[in-house]
Amino acid sequence: MSTPVRSKLSSATGAGWGMAAPVIGLLSLFLIFPFILAFALSFTNQRLISPNPTEFIGMRNFEQLLGLNVLIIEPERDGAGELVRNDAGEPAYPRVRTFTRNNPDYPQYQGMREWFAWNFRGDRIVFLASDVIFMRALTNTFLFVAVVAPVQGGLALLLALLINQKLRGINVYRAIYFMPVVVSIVVVSLLWRFIYDGNDGLLNNILSGLTFGAFKPVDWLGEYGTALGAIMGMSIWQAVGFHMVIWLSGLQTIPETLYEAADIEGATATQKFRYVTWPGLRNTAVLVLIVITMQAFALFAQIDVMTRGGPLDSTQTLVFQAVIRGYEKQDISGGSAISVILFLIVLSVSLLQRYLVRTKN
């Protein structure tokens, strides 16, 4: 009976393409093309504006970014074979730069710099990187994701459980918890510079008030050990409401009857969470984790407004470095190479998360 209608619906190739053409055209030019271009450019020496023609340089951008090597330095010995010791009585080692600067015996170390090092059985083991700042950016970004994804996801779930109670006025609280999400991250970052300020910052004042003055003020964004952590804290504060809402919509799909059944069985609150709530949230969990991970890998505005990568590169991130190189230094190919690495990381991590959660089920 529906045959004539169906044929009418299915023979719409002209109209179909016509109506979809604007989105297909725009996405091709402003998403697919730049995306492919990122890969293509990363194998060249393209600059934003350059008098020289673009050349294909193969993997050189990636080698320059990812080049790593290990150098084992033996302690210096004097003529008699005795260890040379410094004033503190520790063995002295030749400087790393004697190996990495124009040393014909070690061409593999040429131009590299010390990333980190430690002593092992009297020798000094030095990890060298061709691009130490990029390595810092890479490890900082991973550290940021590794902390922010679980903490923010977990706190968001706690908030969602808190806000899922049937209480008078609960909507007001929900609206407040969500509020930072609608405020620009740029505005938030500036406000938190006051909170984290080393002299009269709100955080220092609160902590010293709580400890009756025993707490020594910390310059949260200005110290090597605390800057990245401070940015993590603020980022979680800003975005946690977003994921609270996603958890909440997951919670509300769990049928009330399951809880009623659990009540009849005499289940405790913990048991109800373990056996009713959590299994019902599995799909939501995958989504929340993937979305937070993607957002966390894209960390940029906070860095640009709060620290610009410092102090001592402790808050360098991949996107910040991509922008510094691709935009500020107009090195489009170098910036693209970082973008490609970032994309491959995001893709593998999302696939891995999906895979891990699937198999457990």
């Binding site: 996405l27 271009l37 620009s184």
Partner: protein, 292 residues
């Protein structure tokens, strides 16, 4: 939680509200601090951060910072730019994406499923990873301006609008909504001899209010709060939106009262808008969660 004794109920309730309120304070204090500080002279502002006065509009309260902020920077221009860029992008995006989604959801055509799959796959590409090559793309696009034909879109309105009209998430939201609509509506209209354009305009758009609202809110937030892209493409003051205009206040000596006034001016309208429409805002975020 089960079977709480009446005597404990009051205490229990009181504890719950205390916890809820404490958490609320954590989320609200920087925003209160911003608004309150914008009313204070610089010196008092910095002294007050040492006590609870930071959150109270006390002392020498005035709107001076606002007047000074408007004097120091072309704040009106920045706000105009942001409203123009955000407004035009949201309007065009809703139209173009719903139009395309209509085709993906209701029409059958060769290549449709592959293209839709590619569009959904693009959701995993963070904008930040294509921003740098995009800079090269827009720098080589032709444009016609008042001064004639030239190559390169940098420093213009369209460089901040056109690339963001079509986006995977908006298309996806529309497709998902359209697919849940009863197909009989379309079939009936087809039998009546309506064209696809007429069906889109007269049948689908009038019953798709909720998804238009959702898409508009998400797009509005993304566009108004954009930072990385305008930072790169709008170096000239004339085209700067509010978030990049902020740099103005950090040249030479920083007057924190003025910064706070500026932050309040660019944030408060969004917050008020949000508080009025908070159900719709929250529902729109929640609806992005259905895709799992």
């Amino acid at each position: 939680m089960a079977a709480v004794k009446p005597a404990n109920r009051g205490v229990n309730l009181w504890l719950r509200y205390t916890l809820l309120t404490f958490v609320a304070l954590i989320f609200i204090f920087p925003i209160v601090f911003m608004v309150v500080s914008s009313l204070k002279p610089d010196q008092q502002l910095l002294v007050d951060t040492g006590s609870l006065r930071a959150f109270l509009p006390v002392g020498d309260i005035s709107l001076n910072n606002y007047f000074e902020a408007f004097e120091r920077a072309p704040v009106g221009l920045f706000i105009f730019n942001s409203i123009l860029i955000t407004g035009v992008t949201v309007a065009l995006s809703l139209f173009v994406c719903s139009f395309g989604a209509f085709s993906f959801a209701f029409l059958k055509w060769r290549g449709r499923d592959v293209i839709l799959a590619i569009i959904i796959a693009t959701l995993i590409v963070p904008f930040e990873t294509i921003a740098i090559p995009m800079l090269l793309v827009v720098n080589n696009l032709p444009m016609v301006s008042s001064s004639g034909f030239k190559i390169g879109w940098l420093n213009s309105y369209q460089v901040q609008i056109v690339p963001f009209i079509a986006d995977g998430l908006t298309i996806f939201l529309f497709v998902q909504y359209f697919r849940d609509l009863p197909r009989e509506l379309i079939e009936a209209a087809r039998i009546d001899g309506a064209s696809w354009l007429q069906i889109y305009r007269r049948v689908i758009v009038p019953i798709s209010g909720p998804v238009f609202a959702t898409a508009a809110i998400l797009k509005f937030l993304a566009m108004y709060n954009q930072y990385l892209w305008p930072l790169m493409v709008a170096q000239s003051e004339q085209y700067r939106p509010v978030m990049v205009g902020l740099q103005y206040f950090f040249q030479l000596n920083v007057a924190w009262g003025e910064v706070m006034a500026y932050l309040t001016v660019i944030t408060l309208p969004v917050l008020v808008f949000y508080l009025f429409l908070q159900r719709a805002f929250i529902a729109s975020i929640a609806s992005t969660g259905i895709k799992g």
